[in-house]
């Protein structure tokens, strides 16, 4: 099944996707995800312009032209941001569309001038074509990938600092601008070698998809880079096989959709940031809060009068479920004639909940100015959040007002 041509393409695309993952990590963390997109779109006029100028379809010549106009595009974005009132988003949009428009204009001119055969050649740069990749192309991709990975490995500490704390890096006298440009040129080279395979329109997505997927699984940069490289490999291998089996589809969209699939899985299934886990966590938390509220209500009812009946504390349908949970946990027990009573562990738990809630309310009363920044009512106890002397003061106040929960002592 794995013939020579497919093997060549497989090696090339995989190397490309792995490097994209590594370089893209820095791009995503630096919040420059769309700079790659602008770079890719801005490369089109240079690519076609080189073809028109030299009238040759030499891949490396075209890519050099592409690199020049891509860098020009990035420079224009930076200049617009620096010297005009145009904001970055509009600057990216303008460069992206105007350069791309110029590219389309030039490519139509190229079509007029040459035969249909070369037209197809230029067209494949828009949405990508892996089938045409030959041994030399794959070799160049692999070499450039190794160089890129080597640079990232050697400069890892510097790149990490610039990514997370550029202000500190500047204060420490690091060449921040140089490192930023280094990242950007790695991106540029990566986009150029990706152009023939994935195409102008989508090559930037290959940079961000593995990195964004990896972000869901980890909080550490080194792990994230390794994961992004791994996801890149998965995308490269799967994407190659898929685009080989659906010959008539352009390769770019097929590879990108493979990446979207990896992202979808990561987004749903990741252990801490994944959506499934988040939904479960939210659900549990809501249940927990309902239980606490019901415990508090039963306790305060008993404090003032006697053990309540079900009708006296159950007002909404959610509270019925909370009651079932409390009974199941052995904190509340049902007496005859529909009365409810706290068990001994239930009493301990309820007193802790009630005390926490009264201390929080006291804190809100006495320090309303701090409320916004400090209060987290979802925490049962104040101790973990407020400083110890404030906690002592609050305890004292609650005792003085006679609101210290002491039902168990009666």
């Amino acid at each position: 099944m794995l013939d020579y041509n497919t093997a060549v393409v497989l090696v090339g695309v995989t190397a490309l996707a792995v490097t994209s993952g590594v370089v893209g990590t820095f791009l995503v963390l630096r919040r420059r995800a769309l700079a790659g997109d602008a770079l890719a779109h801005a490369s089109l006029p240079g690519l076609v312009g080189a073809f028109l100028l030299f009238e040759r379809r030499d891949l490396y010549l075209l890519l050099s032209g592409a690199l020049i106009s891509a860098l020009l595009g990035i420079a224009v974005i930076a200049a617009l941001r620096r010297y005009t009132r145009i904001k970055e988003d509009a600057a990216i949009g303008i460069v992206l569309s105007v350069f791309f428009g110029a590219g389309i204009v030039l490519s139509r001119l190229a079509q007029n001038r040459t035969t249909a055969g070369s037209k197809a050649g230029l067209d494949s740069f828009l949405l990508g074509k892996t089938a045409g990749m030959i041994y030399q192309d794959a070799l160049i991709i692999v070499i450039l990938s190794l160089v890129t990975l080597g640079i990232v490995f050697v400069l890892f500490k510097e790149l990490k600092l610039v990514t997370f704390d550029p202000g500190f890096a500047i204060a420490q006298g690091w060449p921040t601008l140089g490192l930023d440009l280094m990242i950007l040129s790695l991106v540029a080279v990566n986009v150029m070698i990706g152009l023939p395979a994935v195409g102008v329109v989508l090559v930037a997505a290959l940079l961000i998809l593995p990195a964004v997927s990896a972000r869901f699984w980890t909080e550490r940069l080194d792990t994230m880079i390794l994961l992004a490289a791994g996801f890149g490999a998965i995308i490269g291998i799967t994407g190659t096989f898929l685009s080989a089996s659906f010959d008539r589809f352009p390769a770019g969209p097929v590879i990108i959709l493979t990446g979207s699939f990896v992202l979808g899985i990561s987004m749903l299934a990741a252990p801490r940031r994944g959506l499934v886990v988040q939904v479960i966590r939210d659900y549990r938390f809501r249940k927990e809060i309902e239980c606490r509220a019901l415990l508090e209500e039963i306790y305060e009812f008993a404090e003032q009068r006697s053990w309540p009946t079900k009708e006296q504390v159950l007002h909404r349908s959610g509270e019925r479920a909370a009651l079932r949970r409390l009974i199941h946990q052995g904190l509340v027990r049902e007496m005859g004639n529909d009365h409810l009573e706290l068990t001994t562990p239930g009493m301990r738990r309820a007193e802790s909940v009630v005390l926490g809630s009264r201390l929080w309310k006291m804190f809100l009363d006495t320090h309303p100015d701090l409320a916004g920044s400090l209060v987290d009512l979802s925490h049962e106890s104040v101790d973990e959040i407020l400083p110890p002397d404030t906690v002592r003061e609050l305890n004292e106040l609650v005792r003085l007002q006679g609101r210290w929960p002491s039902l168990s002592a009666r």
Partner: protein, 426 residues
């Protein structure tokens, strides 16, 4: 000439102008709200909706395509918000990921179907405005291009929405917090705006194609943003820019035989470049020119003041001063030239400069301003005498008659500065 002014030319330019009008009006809000890239994302991501619409109706730009595009436009906004909010990704990453995925789906559907049905992929992706006037329908006896049937209604809907919700859109764009406080739902405005982006995108598809729609959305609006500060004039300028792009873009493209859509984007970009350079208020060249004019004024005034002080001591100034270098030489030369032309300074036969009567009058005002300011600073701020001169040297150019009067009042008719030199009378 027929290619530039014939029937096809007329319709092509008109299609471009109608599409440009809706796009640039909506684009103004995108640029002001800093959501240009969301517009870019939507214009890419509606592709699957259009493709599905095409599958159902067999034509681009029909009602099914518009509905499909609206659904996917809103879906894009929603997905980006989920990734950004629940997934805690940065906004730019979310945008990049969502639009490229949806765009890929669209491309695959279209390439799959292009073999069965008569759909031109190039037309959807890169726009084929020049072919649109060939597909005619007859409406009440008139033959008009079919695309006008969607372009015109969409434009009318957009314009009437903007007209009806003018105040709401404006407040929500400039001050979302105030809008919320006034009971205008920022979320509703946001989604309404995104639906408008989706609608103009799909209706403009045949004119400029999926990728170049963003040029029509952002570039005229950004150009107008450089030229004006009022929302209404910004929209009018943006529309004008898009009309110029359509007309010139078509003519040039027809002349050199290339893609009209691409050329429209290029012409819009050219106008943007002109605005960047020459906008009266924000242009780089005009700003440099204003700074230069100010520098010349300050230099001339410094020369006048210096001549006046030398006259006080009974001395005069050699015409060429060696203390300037580089750009300073040019500045000095130009200032000298202007002073002579205005008749404020004259050259004596010995080559020295001296003040004319009107020059002396002007110089006296300046020196008066300078010494008043020194006195004022000395009186009120308790600075050492050698710290007064530099501040006054900068301020003297900006103290008009009114401020002079107030300072005089406050100093109660002092007639000498802290260095003991007389303050010249008015």
């Amino acid at each position: 000439m027929d290619i530039l002014l014939g029937r096809v030319a007329f319709w092509t330019m008109l299609i471009g102008m109608v599409a440009g009008t809706s796009c640039s009006v909506v684009g103004c809000y995108l640029v002001l709200r800093r959501m240009s890239l969301l517009g870019d994302a939507i214009s890419h991501a509606v592709l699957p909706g259009i493709a599905i619409g095409v599958l159902m109706s067999g034509q681009i730009g029909g009602i099914p395509s518009i509905i499909g595009a609206l659904v996917f436009g809103l879906l894009t906004t929603l997905l980006i918000e989920v990734l950004h909010g629940q997934g805690r990704l940065t906004e730019d990453s979310s945008i990049g990921v969502v639009f490229s995925s949806l765009f890929s789906i669209g491309v695959i559907i279209i390439t799959r179907e292009a073999r069965h049905k008569h759909i031109d992929t190039d037309c959807i992706l890169y726009g084929l405005i020049e072919a649109a006037p060939l597909d005619l329908v007859t409406i009440v006896g008139f033959e008009i291009p079919r695309v006008m049937l969607t372009l015109v209604p969409v434009m009318l809907v957009i314009l009437s929405l903007v007209f009806c919700f003018w105040k709401e859109f404006k407040i929500a764009s400039f001050d979302p917090v105030l809008a919320t406080a006034m009971g205008i739902s920022a979320t509703l405005v946001h989604y309404l705006l995104m639906s408008m982006v989706a609608a103009v995108t799909v209706s403009s598809f045949e004119a400029v194609g999926s990728i170049l729609v963003i040029a029509m959305l952002i570039v005229p609006a950004a150009t107008a943003h450089l030229l004006t500060d009022r929302l209404i004039s910004m929209m009018l300028v943006a529309v004008a820019v898009s009309w110029i792009s359509s007309v010139l873009g078509y003519w040039i493209a027809a002349y050199v035989n290339t893609s009209v859509a691409g050329m429209i984007a290029v012409i819009a970009g050219g106008q943007f470049l002109l605005a960047v350079l020459f906008s009266p208020k924000y242009g780089l060249v005009s700003r440099a020119f204003r700074n230069g004019a100010l520098a010349v004024r300050i230099m001339s005034e410094d020369i006048l003041a210096r001549l006046y002080r030398l006259e006080e001591k009974g001395d005069s100034l050699a015409s060429s001063s060696a203390s300037h270098s580089g750009a300073g030489v040019v500045l000095r030369w130009w200032s000298d030239f202007l002073l002579r032309r205005q008749g404020l300074v004259s050259t004596e036969p010995t080559g020295k400069l001296s003040l004319t009567e009107s020059g002396r009058h002007r110089a006296r005002e300046l020196v008066r301003a300078h010494r008043l300011w020194e006195s004022y600073l000395g009186e009120n701020f308790n600075l050492a005498p050698d710290h007064l001169h530099d501040a006054a040297e900068r301020m003297e150019h900006f103290i008009g008659p009114k401020l002079q009067e107030r300072i005089t009042e406050e100093l109660r008719e002092r007639d000498s500065d802290p260095h003991g030199r007389p303050i010249p009378p008015q």
